[in-house]
């Protein structure tokens, strides 16, 4: 009998299954569209005795992450999930969770930010957490949501890392659509990979009293923050180790980035989340039309995968970045595009970069859009445009 069962799950449910199989001790979460089914499913697991955990039915996302911080600081393995405004309400605490070096894991059904109110998917919420010192993975399938949550527990709890981690996926397009997912028949196989041990982090223990969350004056604060820089750097190699180990143990391989049809392509489209599937489809269409374009998916957003990206960027003449959030007023308003550009500049690569913004507030993007974007970029390249003056707002009525 296989250790895995294949069942239809949404990405939300995949997140809940991962939390269950990680045997989390405390869940504190507040419902928000489109994350809500995560909370409901976990409540169901607890009610059915499939998960032995305390669920703290908090009155806000601010309290959700606060309770997670308290529980994690007491030595519990904790889990939470949110979206959009909820993530914004947690914002202050994102920095405290990482500053206190607590291995909290959170799922994000990525959603647009108000105003105007939009319950629909985009990555404005995730991108706003850019500097909060959380390990950030953006998944593109429900299977990957499940697997990534298991992986990041191992990374977050590693003594050389001790940082919180989030796994994001498209609100609605992934959070509410079913895909076949392999989940553990019995959680013990998952717990072999992420065993529950004595906490590797400092905890509130009356037998060994410590003060957590002290005041850091100018003669100390900087060193605390630098230790976080080092931890984030360390997480690179730990992520690598964990991906390798996971693939060896479970046969499902993941990397910092994913590529498709890169052989012989000197132009590639880079994006993240569920939109990558659309890009891959578009690449196949274009191939039939005699146009050889590659696809790159950014999977690990923090720590930024410089080495892995450089390996593919150096083979390219141009990279087309489709961003799913807007960095208002930025030098280049596609947040990921800006970092890709910095990455290329680090090694002085002569690669053109075209920044596009699309799928904002879940404005539909289909294969034809991706093909049209590529065609637009081919024209721009012919005109000698190496870096787009500003980001191109695809599909907007101006």
């Amino acid at each position: 009998m296989s250790a895995w069962i294949r069942i239809p799950l949404t990405s939300n449910y995949a997140a809940a299954y991962a939390a269950k199989d990680a045997d989390v001790d405390v869940v504190a979460a507040y419902p928000i569209t489109p994350q809500t089914p995560v909370v409901e499913k976990i409540a169901e697991f607890i009610a059915n005795g499939e998960l032995q955990a305390e669920m703290v039915h908090v009155e806000s996302e601010h309290s959700a992450l606060s309770a997670c911080i308290g529980a994690s600081a007491t030595g519990a393995r904790v889990f939470t999930a949110t979206s959009s405004q909820g993530l914004e309400l947690m914002h202050e605490l994102l920095y405290i969770a990482s500053g206190l070096r607590l291995p909290i894991v959170m799922a994000i059904a990525a959603r647009a930010l108000s105003a105007p109110l939009s319950i629909w998917g985009d990555y404005s919420d995730v991108m706003a957490t850019r500097d909060a010192s959380w390990i950030t993975i953006i998944a593109s399938t429900a299977q990957e949501v499940y697997d990534s949550i298991i992986q990041v527990y191992k990374v977050a709890e590693h003594p050389d890392v001790l940082l919180p981690a989030m796994v994001a996926y498209d609100g609605f397009m992934m959070s509410h659509t079913y895909e076949p997912v392999h989940v553990a028949r019995d959680k013990s196989i998952v717990l072999e990979f992420i065993p529950k041990r004595k906490p590797s982090w400092n905890v509130l223990d009356p037998d060994k009293p410590i003060t957590i969350g002290a005041v850091g004056n100018p003669d100390w604060y900087y060193e605390f923050k630098y230790q976080q820089v080092v931890a984030m750097e360390n997480s690179q190699s730990i992520l690598r180790q964990v991906f390798d180990e996971f693939s060896k143990k479970f046969g499902r391989g993941y990397d910092f980035i994913e590529t498709y049809n890169m052989d012989g392509s000197d132009i590639a489209v880079l994006t993240y989340g569920g939109l990558y599937g659309t890009v891959v489809e578009a690449v196949d269409h274009m191939k039939k039309q005699g146009l050889n374009i590659g696809a790159i998916r950014l999977r690990v957003f923090r720590p930024w995968p410089t080495e892995e990206l450089l390996k593919v960027l150096k083979e390219l003449r141009a990279v087309i970045v489709i961003d799913r959030a807007i960095g208002f007023g930025a030098a280049l308003e596609g947040p990921v595009a800006m970092e890709v550009l910095t990455t290329a500049s680090k090694k002085g690569l002569n690669v053109a970069l075209h920044s596009y913004i699309a799928s904002i507030g879940q404005r539909t993007v289909i294969e034809e859009d991706v093909i049209a974007i590529v065609k637009k970029s081919l024209e721009l390249l012919e005109k000698g445009v190496t870096i787009t003056e500003r980001s191109i707002y695809w599909g907007v009525r101006q």
Partner: protein, 319 residues
């Protein structure tokens, strides 16, 4: 109304000599929160986890690499101590259930925060913790303004008090609004135990701490905390002013134990409020007529409390 309050501390000799609040903190000379915390920890003992939101107590006791806390302590943010305490309590419960920590070990979870962190910005988190029924004790040390940022008005600042955001000017003179009745609002959550206390009546206060830790479910103790810096009085007068607060009935020490309400420090003969008011610079601008108005409000409140208790626990003003 019939049964007597639980008494664990009858005299000073009942108080433990063990110290869990270390000397050398940075609180103002004459600050009464040090007294409150020192006695609190003597009641709670070593098997205690403290959650402390941002505020005077936090910044004065935890400047890295020093700490005044000999029990495990966590500070997270300003408005969320009750939520953090909820998480701590939930973790203890879960880890005990899974046998990851000794299930027979009783660990006190105590949140202690100022009036701003508790009753204003932290009020939502507090209400959530109470409604969910976590077994945690929340102590609000009420110095009646945002003292850590330098004496700005809070929801619990009393009417007329000068603060830097309710200055005494030509048009406006001090705070216009009444003090928020925090303990009563908490009591409306129908949690097992709610009390008000005052460090001048320290045995009464300690008995309340003990009772709060004993009950199953949440407890809340609202402690008056005279602030030398913000109330503008001589540092040596903190406890005297606290005592006068009770003697004038500006502050009434009561408890509500499983719905049963009682005044734990009866005041058979009251003093006039002027004795309390005139010692504090924050009320310097009040005229005799203003103080008489205040006296009338206190009289009314005393009448209400006596009615609730069903007998005269607070007597008339006898000069």
């Amino acid at each position: 109304m019939s049964s007597a309050p639980k008494v664990y501390y009858k005299t000073v000799f009942d108080i433990s000599k063990e110290e869990f609040f270390a000397p050398g903190h940075g609180l103002c000379t004459g600050c009464t929160v040090g007294t409150i915390v020192r006695l609190l920890l003597k009641v709670a003992g070593p098997n205690t986890i403290i959650v402390n939101p941002t505020g005077c107590l936090e910044v004065s006791t935890t400047t890295f690499p020093y700490t005044s806390w000999r029990v495990p302590y966590i500070h997270v943010a300003f408005e969320n101590a009750a939520a953090v305490a909820s998480g701590v309590e939930a973790a203890l419960k879960a880890l005990k259930a899974k046998g990851l920590i000794d299930p027979n070990k009783r660990i006190n979870v105590i949140a202690i925060g100022g009036d701003g962190g508790t009753a204003d910005i932290g009020f939502q988190a507090l209400s959530g913790m109470l409604e969910r029924g976590h077994k945690a004790m929340y102590i609000m040390y009420d110095n009646e303004a945002y003292m850590n940022t330098g004496i700005q008005r809070s929801g619990t600042t009393p009417q007329h008090a000068w603060t830097t955001t309710t200055p005494v000017g030509r048009v406006l003179r001090g705070k216009l609004q009444f003090k928020k009745p925090v303990a009563e609002i908490v009591a409306a959550h129908r949690i097992p135990y709610v009390a008000t206390a005052n460090p001048a009546h320290f045995l009464d206060m300690m008995n309340k701490f003990k009772r709060g830790l004993e009950v199953e479910g949440p407890s809340f103790i609202h402690v008056l905390q005279p602030c030398t810096t913000g109330w503008r009085f001589d540092p040596r007068l903190g406890i005297k002013i606290a005592r006068l607060a009770t003697e004038t009935a500006m502050w009434i020490n009561w408890e509500q134990d499983h719905g049963e309400f009682r005044v734990t420090v009866p005041v058979p003969k009251r003093k006039h409020v002027k004795h309390y008011i005139r010692l504090q610079g924050r009320f310097n601008h009040l005229t005799d007529a203003d103080i008489e108005e205040l006296q009338k409000l206190v009289d009314k409140e005393v009448e209400r409390i006596n009615k609730v208790v069903g007998k005269e626990v607070i007597g008339p003003v006898v000069e």
